[in-house]
Symmetry: C2
Subunit: 464 residues, 2 copies
């Protein structure tokens, strides 16, 4: 039980300083008239916001950030897998790193579309769960699954292509997920398992349907990549004879628990489908730029009433887990796609998308995503005396449109404080830095054999 | 005289650890075989790069960052000027702030397109010069001048518009600049005055020609905004019957000392003119997104051999002075404009644009912009053990594509150390924060009267 005192909070037309009382992990009162109960937390010159959601990432990509070639997704993926000698220790460290960077940029929830080590699938999941529990961040671990091989993800065009069968059957894959749910899914403790087929490019209908069944059986969130690239748009046409969204709706994958990463290449009809199925778009602006995927039509989604949240995407395609950066760029990048400034996203709308939009996409908006009495205390307190947030103007404008540095003073998840005075209190970040340093080497040039093999076909099919 | 030991530097195919000897403000040697001379600086786990150039900003905009409406440039400017009650003290503080944020994000040179307080023009310039001297950053103070009133900057379309005459004559304006040159221009001490008409939208030919004459007489750099918005493209057609670039070439404003901010709306012929006049494009990607100006065709400039550098632009349209952010976004944003990834900018190219490209645009490439023996010691040492740059991969890739936080360990300008162990050594940044806090207030809503007056005409002319 504690009281945050003198915190600046946004009111409809202004800001006010108030007290916020937290009991049993929830917001019990918000008013300057409250008595101080329990520990008093001094929030002078600090802004209180609901925690944001890093709604799409792949934690283990942290091991290759900074070094991936300037490639579009399909070739980039080939390079990523050529140099991904993952082990359990690395999975653990990069999950810690992802949690810490997310926390220190305003996120209190992370959705980890987790790459699994073949043969050690459950151990990989267990390791990520352990890391997130240790840090104390709210986590949705969404094991990345597929039942087709990498080359199947590139359109064939007029060529004849055959792909190696995937090494594991659809049912065996679904069994792993069900076991993970039984072992680790525990929403009340902040750890959730989500079903998360990679995307239409590498997954059969049977896999999507099996995931939807698990979702219904255990009330799990559904996640997937969707139409990130032009190649995928082309592939969907080849594979289904319709758009990927039309197909996913037909096979029953889309509902209010479904969040879809990227959504760059959708038709107006697709957008209407997302709206009426209450699916959520996870906007990953930085990876969409870095990989040249395109600018997702977020202004259209908002106009159509589709819920939108923000993700950093994996750190190899970004190459960071700074959620505030994703929110800034993901807000202003659309101003060049629609010349009418009356449609542009304001900083106050961005914050709502990052918090309540994120919670809605994870089917937890009843309990999270805003400063309302009764909601869970997933909260972040920002230090407004950081040079990067001065001089004083509109705190939320500074936070969203500026480049905040060292601004997260405190963070709580489920009412438990896990950042204090700018430092993570649950794990030793200096120690984490030492471990990341020890497990890595500086390097400059590398060549991906698989990317080189795929490149000629890719250029041909994409008309380059 | 000092020796930086064990610094990581980029070689053509890799990185190597080496010693760098600095004497008399210049790089005197680069080799692991050198003897240590003078003070020894330990650069273990640190990357050494030439300092970058923040090639376009307006320091006093810092006072309105975070609060400006989501407006296109023309309306945004109206709001900016409605709420700009500048005084000399504020000019001083925001120049300090701009210098510090630039330094702590890798910049050792700043180009301040400085807004002048009417009636206190020379005092404004003197104040900015004082601030930059105190911090020790290399500065190009480019007083922002015009000889037409704000409303002249919006195309008339089919309407009849008249504008108030500007309050000061062209010659009086040029006289101020010449006096500033005589008083403050001192390249060897790191302070330069540049001629800098606002842009074609608010300046007569006489002003441009007068500036070119001053540039020839005193060997000054020439600066200006150029074709930032569609409205300006339209206006140039109305005003000149040709493009702005064709007109500026005709009146003799373009040469190897000319740097032009934005350059979003240029024709292929315009690009060829920039190439053969050896003019420099200053890329301000963040303000171009925030104001919806567009994505400058930087890949085309590079292919045409036009020199390109990076700027943060004023902090009201960005809303930060983080140069590394401008470099990142200004590099990856083009990947969505050209689908062929072979044209995309690599991190190593970005660093060259930010350092050597910046120096070239300021006619100082002979002495700055790269790690070469004989060049001035404008250097930055990055701490590669920051969590944001771990795990270790390609240091330059991490720096450019990541979201570096607290990474500038040391910086030198002219061989003088002005950042040490992550802290600015020349001024008291805590004190600066206090002053910025003291001189400002949190606020949320405001309404610009002038923007409201201009809006109807703007929407009509721009077809909104």
């Amino acid at each position: 039980m504690f009281t945050i005192e003198n915190a600046l909070i946004a009111t409809p037309d202004d800001y006010s300083s108030t007290k916020v009382l937290i009991t049993d992990g929830r917001i019990a009162g918000i008013s300057s008239q409250l008595d101080t109960v329990g520990t008093s937390i001094n929030a002078d010159n600090k802004l209180l916001l609901p925690g944001f959601v890093n709604a799409h990432t792949h934690s283990s990509e942290m091991w290759q950030r900074g070094i991936m070639s300037m490639f579009p997704l399909e070739l980039w993926l080939a390079e990523l897998y050529d140099f991904a000698p993952l082990d359990i220790e690395k999975v653990y460290l990069s999950a810690l790193g992802t949690a810490v960077e997310t926390l220190l940029s305003g996120g209190t929830t992370v959705v980890d579309h987790l790459v699994l080590i073949p043969g050690k699938e459950l151990e990989t999941i267990a390791t990520a769960v352990r890391a997130y529990k240790e840090v104390g961040i709210r986590a949705f671990v969404a094991p990345l699954i597929q039942d087709e091989s990498l080359a199947a993800g590139i359109p064939s065009g007029d060529t004849k292509q055959t792909h190696e069968p995937y090494f594991r059957s659809t049912q065996a894959t679904l069994d792993i997920i069900e076991e993970a749910v039984k072992k680790f899914h525990c929403p009340e403790k902040g750890i959730n398992i989500a079903v998360a087929p990679t995307g239409i490019q590498l997954c059969s209908d049977a896999l999507f349907k099996g995931c939807a069944e698990l979702s219904d059986k255990y009330d799990l969130c559904r996640h997937s990549h969707l139409l990130e690239t032009k190649a995928q748009e082309k592939l969907a046409k080849e594979k289904y004879g319709c758009t990927a969204v039309e197909h996913l709706e037909r096979i029953g994958y889309l509902d209010y628990r479904t969040s879809l990463a990227h959504c760059v290449h959708l038709t107006d009809k697709d957008i209407a489908i997302l709206a009426h199925t209450k699916s959520t778009v996870v906007h990953n602006p930085l990876s969409n730029l870095r990989l040249g995927s395109g600018i997702a039509p977020i202004l259209k989604y908002r106009q159509a009433g589709v819920n939108v949240s923000f993700g950093c995407d994996g750190a190899s395609s970004n190459d960071s887990q700074d959620l505030l950066e994703a929110i800034k760029i993901g807000s202003i990048v659309h101003n060049v796609t629609d010349f009418d400034y009356q449609h542009w996203i304001t900083p106050h709308q961005s914050v709502k998308m990052a918090a309540l939009g994120g919670a809605t996409g994870l089917n937890m908006a009843d309990n999270n995503g805003s400063l309302d009495v009764g909601k869970k205390a997933d909260l972040v307190l920002y230090d407004l005396t950081s040079l990067s947030l001065l001089p004083r103007t509109d705190p939320i404008g500074l936070l969203v449109l500026g480049r905040p540095v060292n601004v997260v003073d405190s963070a709580w998840v489920n009412g438990k404080q896990i950042v204090k005075s700018g430092n993570v209190t649950t794990i030793d970040v200096q120690d984490l830095r030492q471990e990341l340093l020890k497990h890595s080497q500086w390097q400059k040039s590398r060549k991906s054999k698989t990317a080189a093999e795929l490149e000629k076909h890719y250029r041909f099919v994409m008309g380059l």
